[in-house]
Structures are given as C-alpha cells and as structure tokens.
C-alpha cells in the first residue's frame, strides 16, 4: 500500500477483554515499530521488529502485551485482559531497514477500555 495502514481506527472494549490491533507496513519496509501515546503525552516505545524477529521487546508494559509479525509484513499487537490504563492511541511505524532510516507512521488505533 501507499502508506502504513492500521486497523481498527477506533476500538472500544470492556475491561478484561482481549484486543488485537493490526499494522500493515509500507511494502518492502523491513523494520516495524509499535508505540503507545496517551492523551497529550509523548510516544512510549513498545516493541521493534526487524523482519519477523523482535530484537527489542523491552518497552512492553506487562506480560498482557504481546506482538507478532508474520511474513515480514503485517504485525498484530495483542493486549490480553485489558485494563483502563491501556486506553491510548497505539501507533505503528515502518522503515526500510534497521533503525537508520526515516520511519513512516500509520494513523493509529484509538483504544478505549470501559
């Protein structure tokens, strides 16, 4: 596709439910990043993929969070047993290779846990 695509754009879920957020990067981009942005705040790094592997998972806030990437393309971020503090905008970005090049962002998924 022309840009990074994220779905859904908005998600409202009940506390305790699991959610899956999807990121479809720019074709050919090998690096993929997930961030979380709370209202009015900066970007919190969650995880980084190079191809299908995740060399850096240090930003995942708890074991309720997991992410995978298959075929070097689409990535899903899964949050299990959601809590109200998980409410935020989840942003995905992709870049050509490693961390040396410019990253392009998707429009984000706004997650609201009620």
């Amino acid at each position: 596709g022309a840009g990074v695509s994220q779905s859904p754009s908005n998600k409202v879920t009940e506390k305790g439910k699991d959610v899956e957020l999807r990121c479809d990067p720019i074709s050919g981009h090998t690096a993929l990043y997930w961030y979380r942005q709370s209202l009015g705040q900066g970007l919190e790094f969650l995880i980084y993929f190079q191809g299908n592997s995740a060399p850096d998972k240090s930003g995942l806030p708890s074991d309720r969070f997991s992410a995978e990437r298959t075929g070097g393309s689409v990535s899903t971020l899964t949050i299990q047993r959601t809590q109200q503090e998980d409410s935020a905008v989840y942003l995905c970005a992709s870049s050509l290779a490693g961390m040396n090049t410019e990253a392009f962002f998707g429009q984000g998924t706004r997650l609201t846990v009620v």
Partner: protein, 107 residues
C-alpha cells in the same frame, strides 16, 4: 537509561516571530529525526539529520544537528499560524522520541 529531552514543552508565540526548539539526548546517536503531529493526527516526518553539522531547511523551519554536544535544534523563522502543532525529535537508538514541544502560534 536513554533520555531524549526537549525544551520548551510548551511554546506560545506571535506570528512573525522567530524561535528555537531544543532537543538534547543522552546517547551517541548519529541520526536525529524531527516529526510534526497535528491534534488528533499521526506523526509526519519533517527532517532526517544524518551527520554531525547537518543542516536542513524546509520553508520556515530549519533543523541542525551537533552530535558532539548531543543537541539538535529546530528553528522557526517568521512563524505563521499553520505551524501550530506538536514537534517531536527522535534518536536512532530504538527510535526513541523526545517529550514533544507543543507550539501555538497566535495571530
């Protein structure tokens, strides 16, 4: 711990004035990125600075990088209202972002 700090966090300035946003970082990053975010929107890439002494300009914005001082600046010349946004810098390591500077240009 890697830190990327921006100042000021909030900036309100009048149209036509000049100002500079500062980005200090604690790692030895040789790459520095500047992004813009409009309210309710995602991030848009503005500049990629690839080496010490790099300077890039686009319209009323100019970015520079001093890797020895671990400092990047984003200079705004003769500000106009449509530059109102939040500006983020980011370093190469883990693509770590700064705290952001919320810029408001007052007519």
């Amino acid at each position: 711990e890697l830190k990327v700090e921006q100042n000021p966090l909030f900036l309100s300035m009048q149209e036509g004035k000049n100002y500079t946003i500062y980005c200090n970082y604690s790692t030895t990053s040789d790459r520095l990125y500047w992004y813009r975010q409009d309210p309710g929107k995602s991030l848009e890439s503005l500049f990629v600075l690839l080496s010490n002494g790099a300077v890039k300009q686009e319209g009323r914005l100019m970015a520079s990088l001093d890797t020895k001082a671990r400092l990047s600046t984003l200079h705004i010349t003769a500000a106009v209202h449509d530059l109102s946004a939040t500006y983020f810098c980011a370093v190469r390591e883990k693509l770590t972002f700064g705290t952001g500077t919320r810029l408001t240009i007052i007519p």
